[in-house]
């Protein structure tokens, strides 16, 4: 069994009039990709910043490899903030070289450039990078010290679908090396695809934690049937759990056969019927009552 890399005990952070983090306990094992999810204002950014050593907790304890956060942690942690400005007039290669010199140990820079697909942009000024190129450079910076633990704060926000998928491939490569990853994201599909374990935060507390599949299995035993609203011919669905979403009605049920029989009895065409399992979006909505992102 993998050892605990990062232990968090009863973490609390007070701001004037706000308790942003309210008694969080976490144990992150080596090689795990851990996702921290939560609506805006849930306290996840504050929590992650405290874990990164950027912010100070009001109380509680954080141990990295059994020791309080210190020089060893700063040398062995890789951090990718959601929005980090890079120095103007400095090229991609120079930026990587500068960050590499901050650490006693480094990844192979040439290999890092290849992995993050930065070869074409090495001599390009940081100001001229596109969103995707910039995110890949920020990831390369986070990996420049060959870290044992990597914090990725909403790494794919603002990227187009293709760039997001490419980024996921990169993160999967990092996972394959056995690195520990702490990922915050607004995208549930991203969390589901990348994370071995997730925690959902709200009001400064963790309200659910486990593997995505376990959490879904624990919270749901039903599926969702989707039909266009206009195909329903105003039939009475008051006996069912329904939800209208983007001109579709979603019927949540454990009895798929019964619902389909009822639809057939009412002459409803099933040609546009879709059945999907419950997702992390549903779980999130169920637990927090807030949609993370539409």
């Amino acid at each position: 069994m993998a050892a605990d890399l990062l232990q968090v005990k009863n973490l609390v952070k007070h701001y004037p009039n706000v308790k942003a983090v309210n008694g969080i306990d976490l144990n992150l094992k080596t090689g795990v990709c851990f996702g921290l999810l939560g609506p805006n204002g849930a306290g996840k950014t504050t929590t992650v910043e405290i874990l990164e050593g950027i912010n100070q907790a009001s109380s509680g304890e954080i141990l990295y490899k059994g020791q309080p956060l210190g020089e060893q942690f700063r040398n062995e942690a890789g951090i990718m903030f959601q929005s980090t400005a890079l120095q103007d007039y400095i090229t991609v290669h120079e930026t990587l070289e500068m960050f590499a010199r901050f650490y006693p140990q480094n990844s192979d820079i040439d290999n890092l450039i290849l992995r993050c697909n930065l070869t074409e942009y090495l001599d390009q000024d940081n100001r001229q990078l596109s969103g995707g190129q910039r995110q890949r450079l920020l990831l390369a910076i986070a990996l420049v010290n060959d870290p044992d633990i990597i914090f990725l704060d909403e790494p794919t926000t603002g990227l187009d679908p293709q760039a997001r998928r490419n980024f996921w491939d990169l993160i999967n490569d990092i996972k394959a090396e056995g690195k520990t990853i702490v990922l915050t994201t607004h995208y549930m599909d991203e969390a589901y695809s990348l994370c071995d374990e997730i925690a959902i935060m709200d009001h400064g507390k963790i309200i659910a934690q486990g593997t995505p599949k376990t959490l879904l299995a624990e919270n749901f035993n039903d599926v969702v049937l989707q039909l266009p609203v206009k195909k329903l011919n105003n039939i009475d669905l008051s006996a069912l759990t329904t939800h209208v979403k983007h001109e579709f009605i979603e019927i949540t049920t454990c009895d798929v056969n019964g619902v389909i029989s009822m639809l057939i009895e009412n002459d409803i065409s099933l040609s546009h019927l879709q059945i999907r399992p419950r997702t992390l979006d549903d779980l999130f909505l169920e637990l927090t009552g807030k949609e993370l992102r539409t």
Binding site: E52, G53, I54, F81, A85, I90, E94, M98, R101, Y103
Partner: protein, 339 residues
């Protein structure tokens, strides 16, 4: 303190500055344009009036009284202390005053190399029954441009130091660059010392460029040691960069930073003796000016360039600059916040 980390920050900051062509050009062009403007503006003797310093004006004897009645000569009174008389003689040597007259003893000083001094002497000696006693001094003509250049160089250094460090730190804090650096093993001391070292070297290179560049077409006076002047500007740059660090230690808004930097730089620009001498200013103004690093840089640079002063002569200014640098640095490092 890791030298490797310091060097990484130092080299990157240098590249950033050198590649920012507009900023670099402005740093060099601004003082050159100011000097060129002053050289042009003060190239003629338009409206020149003879200027005579008078000691013991209140106890003037009859002969001197006749002289002081003459029109189109500007007379101004000088205290009869030894230091004031010595200072006035120095002004005669530099052609800043055409004559010094002791109205009680009838002694007068003129510069034998000054055409204006020659003419004023002729007027004085044309008075009937005169028995004035002539004292002569020699010295090269000090133009206003010679006098103002040490101040312009110092002022340019001040703007480069305050805005080049203060404003940049605030910009990095605002856009999250400092926060990113905080997440690395970099310490505040390493970061700040790299900023200071980078800016000092850049300021010294730019100042040297402006110094020798403007000298090509202005040919200003440089009577002292270049090493002494280098030391004065080096210490001046350090003290003003340190002041910039104090101002930028916690500010997160570029607008506030701009306002604060202007709040410090504008009074220094006008009341540190860059453009005009503070000798005749109110005592309170002179006391306030003593607080400004720019006052000491300008005074020391002027003493080196015009009077050929040695390190002992300017030690008072150097010690003040060292003390100010140490105070600002300690306070700035202690007060500094990454985000």
């Amino acid at each position: 303190m890791s030298f490797k980390r310091f060097l990484a920050l130092f080299l990157t900051r240098n590249k950033e500055f050198i590649r920012d062509r507009s900023s670099l050009s402005w740093n060099i062009l601004m003082p050159v344009l100011v000097v060129a403007g002053f050289a042009f503006a003060f190239s003629g003797d338009i409206g020149k009036q003879f200027k005579v310093a008078v000691v013991n004006e209140s106890v003037t004897n009859e002969q001197a009284k006749e002289f002081l009645k003459l029109k189109h000569i500007e007379f101004y009174s000088v205290k009869s202390t030894k230091s004031e008389i010595t200072r006035s003689i120095e002004k005669v040597q530099r052609h800043q005053v055409d004559m010094l007259l002791n109205a009680k003893t009838n002694q007068y000083w003129i510069n034998t190399e000054s055409p204006s001094g020659y003419l004023v002497e002729k007027i004085l000696l044309s008075l009937p029954n005169n028995n004035f006693e002539k004292q002569t001094v020699t010295g090269k003509h000090i133009r206003y441009i010679d006098w103002v250049i040490p101040g312009i160089l110092s002022m340019n250094m001040m703007f480069s130091a305050l805005f080049g460090v203060g404003f940049v730190i605030v910009r990095y804090r605002k856009n999250g660059m400092l926060k990113r650096l905080k997440a690395t093993p970099i310490t505040a001391f390493e970061y700040l010392s790299a900023q200071i070292a980078s800016r000092i070297i850049l300021i010294m290179v730019v100042t040297a460029f402006v110094f020798y560049g403007t000298n090509l077409f202005v040919n200003f006076v440089m009577n002292g040691s270049h090493f002494n002047l280098f030391l004065v500007f080096g210490l001046g740059a350090l003290s003003m960069i340190s002041l910039g660090l104090v101002i930028a230690a916690r500010i997160t808004s570029e607008e506030t930073a701009g306002g604060m930097l202007n709040l410090f730089s504008w009074p220094m620009m006008f009341f540190s003796g860059v453009w005009f001498s503070l000798e005749g200013a109110a005592p309170i103004m002179q006391s306030i000016a003593e607080i400004f690093p720019l006052t000491h840089v300008t005074a020391a640079a002027r003493a080196v360039m015009i009077d050929g002063a040695g390190l002992i002569d300017i030690s008072y200014h150097l010690i003040i600059l060292i003390l100010q640098s140490a105070t600002f640095l300690l306070f700035g490092a202690w007060f500094f916040k990454w985000d």
